[in-house]
C-alpha cells in the first residue's frame, strides 16, 4: 500500500473521507434528503464495480442487474427464511454478496471468451433469464410485486445489536440540516463505500490493473506476450459482480422491500448511464454520475413527467460531446495542468535512476507519464 500513498494516495484518502462525511449536509442544502444520500452511496458501490468492468477492462455488460437484484433477493430471503428472529445484517449482506459473486463466476466463465457485442448480448441473455425466473417464481420471490417487507436487520457488534435506523444525536446545522438527519445506515454505508473506493484505487493502480488496461488496449498483443486475457477478464467480472451484489443487498435491506425491477433491464441500463455520465476510467466518476442522476431523478421526477427523456438526452450528449464523462473531462482539462507541475511519480523516478546508471542509454526528459490513464489521481 505504500506505493499508493506515494502517488497522491494520502491526499485522495483524506479528500474522499472528507467528501463522504460532508456529503449529506451539502446534499441537504440542495434539497436532497438524507435517505436519498444513503441510497446514492449504496448504488455507487455497484457503479464502481461496473466501472471496473467497463472502464478498466473494456467490457460492456448489459445484465448487471442480475447481480444487483440477485444480491438483494438472496439477502432478503436469508433474512426471512433463515433468521427471522435474529436478523443479522452481516450474514444477510454477506450471503447476498456471495451469491452474486458465484453467479458472476459462472456467467463470467462463459462470457469472457466472447467479444464486444456478443459479450453484451450474453450478459443480457442471462439477466433476462433470471428476470423472468424471478418474475415467475412467485412462491419464493413474490413475482412482480416482489417482497414487500422483511425483518429489520440488526448489526451485531460485540455484545450489541445495533438498529441501523438509529439517528445520530441532534445538532442543528442551519441550512445543512440537523445531525440527527443521519441514520447509522449512512455511517455504515459510508464506511463500506470508502473501503471499496480505496480498494478500487489500489486495484486499478496495481499490476493487476495495469494488465487489465493492457488487455483492454490491445488484447491480441497481450495474449501474445503471455497474459491470459480470459482469466483477467473473469477476475474483473467476478469482482464487479461481487460489488454489485453487495450494493444490491445493502439497498434491499435499507429499503425494506425488493421488487422484480431490481433484476430488470432498466436497472442494468441505469449502471451504464451512471457510469458513462460520471466518467469511465475515473474512480470518482461512477459516484458522481450516480449521485447526479439519482438526485435529478428525485428532484425532477416530482415536477416533470418527462424526466427520463432528459436523462436520455444528457446521456447521449455526454457520449457525443464529453466522451470522458463529467469527472473525466474535469480531470483532463483542469487537473492535467496541475499534474504537469507536480513532482513525478516514484515509478518514474525509479526508471530515471536506472537510466542514469553509467552506460545507460538515455536521459529521461521528465517524469510525467504519457497517456490519459496515467494521469495521477482524481
Amino acid at each position: 500500500m505504500t506505493r499508493a500513498r506515494g502517488d497522491g494516495g494520502v491526499r485522495f484518502a483524506i479528500l474522499s473521507a472528507a467528501g463522504i462525511v460532508l456529503f449529506p449536509f451539502l446534499f441537504h442544502a440542495i434539497n436532497g434528503y438524507a435517505g436519498l444520500a444513503t441510497q446514492i452511496l449504496m448504488v455507487s458501490i455497484a457503479s464502481i464495480g461496473f466501472n471496473l468492468l467497463l472502464g478498466y477492462t473494456g467490457l460492456l455488460s448489459y445484465g448487471h442487474a442480475m447481480f444487483y437484484g440477485g444480491g438483494g433477493y438472496v439477502a432478503a430471503l436469508l433474512l426471512i427464511h433463515f433468521m427471522p428472529d435474529h436478523p443479522n445484517l452481516w450474514l444477510a449482506v454477506f450471503g447476498g454478496t456471495l451469491a452474486a459473486t458465484a453467479l458472476a463466476l459462472v456467467v463470467g466463465a462463459l462470457a469472457v471468451r466472447l467479444y464486444g457485442i456478443y459479450f453484451a448480448l450474453l450478459t443480457l441473455a442471462f439477466a433476462q433469464m433470471i428476470f423472468f425466473v424471478v418474475e415467475q417464481a412467485e412462491g419464493i420471490t413474490g413475482g412482480d410485486d416482489g417482497i414487500q417487507s422483511f425483518p429489520n436487520a440488526l448489526l451485531p457488534i460485540g455484545p450489541y445489536n445495533i438498529d441501523l435506523g438509529t439517528a445520530l444525536p441532534a445538532f442543528d446545522l442551519g441550512p445543512f440540516g440537523n445531525l440527527s438527519d443521519i441514520k447509522l445506515w449512512y455511517v455504515l454505508t459510508a464506511v463500506i463505500l470508502y473501503v471499496v473506493l480505496i480498494g478500487m484505487r489500489a486495484l486499478t493502480r496495481s499490476q493487476f490493473g495495469e494488465v487489465l488496461t493492457a488487455i483492454r488496449e490491445n488484447e491480441e498483443r497481450s495474449s501474445l506476450i503471455g497474459f491470459n486475457a480470459s482469466a483477467y477478464r473473469l477476475a474483473a467480472f467476478a469482482i464487479s459482480g461481487a460489488l454489485t451484489g453487495l450494493s444490491g443487498a445493502l439497498r434491499a435491506l435499507y429499503d425494506g422491500t425488493i421488487s422484480v425491477e431490481s433484476v430488470g433491464i432498466d436497472r442494468s441500463g441505469s449502471f451504464v448511464i451512471y457510469t458513462i455520465i460520471g466518467g469511465v476510467q475515473t474512480l470518482l466518476g461512477p459516484i458522481a454520475g450516480t449521485g447526479i442522476i439519482m438526485y435529478l431523478e428525485s428532484v425532477l421526477s416530482a415536477h416533470l413527467g418527462y424526466w427520463r427523456l432528459i436523462e436520455g438526452l444528457i446521456f447521449v450528449a455526454v457520449i457525443v460531446f464529453l466522451p470522458n464523462g463529467i469527472v473525466g473531462t474535469i480531470r483532463r482539462n483542469y487537473l492535467a495542468r496541475v499534474a504537469k507541475e507536480r513532482a513525478p511519480s516514484s515509478r518514474a523516478l525509479l526508471a530515471e535512476s536506472l537510466r542514469a546508471r553509467p552506460g545507460g542509454p538515455t536521459q529521461s526528459a521528465g517524469g510525467a507519464e504519457a497517456g490519459p490513464e496515467r494521469l495521477k489521481n482524481d
Binding site: L54, G58, L60, Y62, L110, R113, L114, Y115, G116, I117, Y118, A120, L121, L122, L124, A125, F126, Q128, M129, F132, V133, Q136, S223, A229, S230, I265, G269, V272, I276, G305, Y306, R308, L309, E311, G312, L313, F315, V316, I319, V320
Partner: protein, 289 residues
Amino acid sequence: MVALSQALLNGLVLGLIYVAIAVGLTIVFGTLRLVNFAHGAFYAIGAYVGLVVAQQAGLWWGFLAAPIAVALFAVVLDRVLLRPFYGKDATSQILVTFGIALIVEETLRLIFGSTTQQYPMPAALTTSVSLGAFVYPAYRLLFAGFVIVMLVLVWLFIERTDYGLIVRAGVRDRTMVQLLGGNIRQASTIVFALGAAIAGLVGAAASPIYSIAPGTGFAFLVPSFVVVVVGGLGSFWGAVLGGILIGELQSLTTLVFAPGANVIIYLCMALVLLLRPQGLLGESEVIRQ
C-alpha cells in the same frame, strides 16, 4: 389439437414480426457493422405514426405513412448522429444507440402517454376465419401473408439490385466493398433506412394484434436480438429461420408451460452464443478467443 394449431399460427405471426425486425438489424450489421440498439425505436415510431395517421385518415394510410416517416427519421439519424459510429467498437455503438432508444421511447411517452393504445380497425378485418376445426382472426392471417410478401421483396432487393449487392458483399468483406468503389455512403444510408422502414412498417401492421405502448419497441427488440444471434448476425435467411424458430418456441412453450416461455428464448440465445456463436447460418468470423 385445436390449441396446438392455434399456437403454431400464433407462433408464426409472432415469429414473422421478429423476422421483420431481425432482418433490418442483421442487414444493417452486415453492411455497416453497426449494432443498433435503437432499432426497436423504429418499430415503435412506425406503430405510433401509423396510429395517428390511421385515426385521421384510415388504416391503410397509416400503413403507408409509417415506413416513410421511420425511413426519414433513420436518414436524419444517420446523417446527424450515427455516421461517426459505423465500424467503431461495439461498445460505443451500443451506448449511443441505447441512448437514442431511450430518448425515443421517452419522447413517445411524453407525447402519447404510457397507456396502451388500440389501433382503429375497420370492422371487416376484425372477423375470424374458419380454418377447418377452429377459427382464427382474419387479420393475423392477412398480416402473416403481408410480411411474407414484404420479405420476398426485401430479398429480391438484396439479391437483384446494385444496392443489394453492397449488402451481400458487405457482410462478407467490408474493405472489399470500399475498394470496389460505388457510392458507399448513399448505399449505406439506403440500407439503414430500408432496415428501419421494414421495422416501422411492421410496427404499424402488427399493432392491431399486439397493441401499442412506448415500451413496445424495446420489448420486441430484445427478443429480436435473440433471433439475430440464433440465426447469425448478418444473415438474411438466418433472421428468417431464427425468427420463425423463436416465435414458435415462445408460442409453443406458452401452451405447455407458460412461465417458461420467456426464459426459454434467452436460454436458446445463451446456448447458441456458447456453442455456436456465429449462429445457425452466420459466417464464422472472429467471435471468441
